[in-house]
Symmetry: C2
Subunit: 414 residues, 2 copies
């Protein structure tokens, strides 16, 4: 039996940015069968009827970057210099507290937080990732889940000589879990992985047909920490290693220049912008309007909860819009539609899933949320995009469906 | 009979920043009778028992700057150049839609939004302010409510020659309304009010013993719009007019330099920082860490909903912390405690009410909120200040008391 979501403003985020005032969506199995006006999708009866109560029916949000298990460290150490934060707090905490049990527990916790906040897909990278992946599948979220690769002993990979082999074994295991779980390989960064490791990890990701993720140009001092640069930019260095292509996701890209953006655009890499993390850690401000103008597929990410401290893409959209306006001293940049695209279809494009998710169109997977518009802060609603980016809170999310399955109902986890 | 709030982490924001793990507060009439551990405030029975359920008991938030009726224009016109936004959208909408009825209706609406978000005091400025003031009193919020003064025909003041007289008449009328309503005079700005008007308005405010508010140095181009500057800074000009003292509130102060800050500090003026409004309108970034270092009493404000677009101080705290970190390229500036102080006791100090509100201490007015900590985004809680600034949402506010009266109960307006 179908699921019918009706009586809402349908914000499709499709190519034409179609908005339907008296909108509805019909779902069959895990796909969108039809969408449009209530008349358009009427017809045969439905097994589940979801009344949007005049709210907004829209695609689920895509969190392009996080480290789900790190919710265990939420608020553990804030307002500190980066080296003190990492070396005196986060690294020791990871060494003592990260194990299969904690990864499983806190990944599930983060997934519950994300589902409640309207995030239907996350792109993750951490260690013991098979335990994260299983927890993701159990909670019902859609996920790209990357096993971490780093040239130091890491949780679950005591011998860094085994980091690629561990990642490959993970990918093979994780592929069996669920159609909602896409394994990935996540190299931590070019300053914690040698050129050799980066090349080998990308090669393994190519062989397995999975997304390759890497933190790139997060901090101003990064080039000094990479031995083989020889005056090249970090992006140029990665390009020379041959690891940049449409299946490579570059996270952060704070300190990239025009030449870097040209390379990223030419190679078709996705980019994830994490405005709140970059601000809170004082990493810098990524040239996002410039990247978008260069045609780069750029999505939004929350980053892990140790550096944000939550999984809230409504807040990231609002912050991204406002941050780039004041930096450019131009209130027109990063308008509401642009930010909403980054959190939906553009984020999906960045992680290579835009043919299946990120907008509401017949044939796409049924990852759909309903945003309640009845609270005072959502009234009046002169413009639906402004409402979603500048006024909506993640707590306004009332219904969440992933893969055609109801995961949040009337604001509560099912 | 007393009200007893118990079973929460008590965050007092008092001078010693006292935090009590198993905290409680006893309220008698409209004042705090005692606070401390549950044992400390035990004793005689209470008429109303409020179980904080392990959440956070803290002072209500102080919204240092807003234009409450402007919620009617929420999302009306966003992502536009300032002149187009003002001249083609906001000013025409104000001319056609602002009247006693709409001011009353949308002020009440904004007050409901603020109360639900844990704001127990707002500092407002608009036209037809007597109608705003009455609506504020009806909703139960505590407010400093300023009648607007501007050298142009304005809603309710068709003849600008009457702007001071109208404000004085308003103050006399509003003084009779409620002990929770403190009238004020709000000069729009030094570029829309002549030096003569500014002086006369301040004189009237002094005579009446009320707060004088004015937008100052919001945009970079402001000096060019003020005829009589003669090379002086806007702040120096206002100082020369004799209008700066401890009962003058300077809103925005984005484009102030060291010399300006010295003047502001010497005169004891309060300052309100509106980070989200300043970002969204691309006004600039106020030197807040520098103002705080100079000992200036600085609070946080949301500004009106046409330029933000909501009344959410939890979001403003988070944004203020992150914005100033990335601008200073220093993750240590504007730590969580500093931001929480700005939203409570420092904001109260800026608007001249710190002896009565802004912290939880015996004898202070009972403006208290409870923040629920049971949702996934608030778990774990390694640090209560981090939790409140970097993870809490306004939707976590479960109880709100103003003047000892319950206004929000279990997240719903009473």
């Amino acid at each position: 039996m179908d699921i019918l979501i009706y009586n809402g403003v349908l914000v499709t985020m499709d190519d034409d940015l179609t908005v339907v005032e008296d909108g509805a969506v019909r779902i069959r199995d895990n796909e969108i069968l039809s969408c449009g006006t209530m008349d358009d999708v009427a017809g045969t009866e439905a097994g589940i009827l979801i009344d949007a109560r005049g709210g907004i029916i829209m695609p689920g949000l895509v969190n392009g970057h996080t480290h789900t298990p790190m919710s265990m460290f939420r608020g553990l150490a804030d307002d500190l210099p980066l080296d003190k934060w990492l070396n005196e707090h986060i690294f020791p905490a990871e060494a003592s507290q990260v194990n299969p049990g904690s990864v499983s527990k806190w990944t599930a916790h983060s997934c519950r937080e994300m589902l409640l906040a309207g995030i239907t897909t996350c792109c993750d990278g951490y260690f013991h990732e098979i335990h994260a992946a299983r927890a993701m599948v159990d909670t019902g979220i859609r996920a790209v889940a990357g096993q971490g690769v780093i040239d130091f002993p890491a949780p679950g990979v005591g011998d860094p000589g085994q980091n690629i082999a561990s990642a490959v074994a993970y990918v093979n295991e994780a592929k069996k879990l669920s159609s909602r779980l896409m394994p990935s390989i996540f190299c931590h960064s070019p300053y914690t992985c040698s050129g050799k490791t980066l090349k080998a990890a990308k090669e393994a990701a190519r062989d397995a047909g999975v997304l390759f993720q890497v933190h790139v140009s997060e901090s101003r001092g990064e080039p000094e920490m990479i031995p083989g640069l020889n005056g090249r930019s970090v992006v140029a260095y990665l390009d020379d290693l041959g690891i940049l292509d449409a299946s490579t996701l570059l996270v952060h890209c704070v300190w990239v220049d025009e030449a870097d953006m040209k390379i990223i655009g030419k190679r078709g890499c996705g980019v994830i912008h994490c405005p709140e993390s970059n601000m809170k850690l004082a990493s810098g401000i990524a040239p996002v309007p410039e990247m978008l103008a260069a045609g780069i597929a750029a999505g939004l990410g929350t980053d892990g909860c140790a550096s944000n401290n939550d999984h809230d893409l409504f807040a990231e959209m609002d912050t991204a819009a406002k941050l780039h306006k004041v930096v450019a001293m131009d209130p027109c940049v990063m308008d509401a539609v642009t930010c909403l695209k980054m959190a939906t279809i553009d984020g999906a494009r960045a992680i290579g899933l835009d043919r299946r998710i990120g907008s509401i169109s017949p044939g796409k997977l049924a990852d759909i949320i309903v945003v309640d518009t009845g609270k005072p802060h959502m009234i009046p609603m002169h413009n639906v995009y402004s409402g979603l980016v500048y006024a909506a809170k993640s707590s306004d999310v009332s219904w969440v469906l992933v893969d055609g399955i109801v995961r949040v109902k009337a604001g509560e986890l099912v």
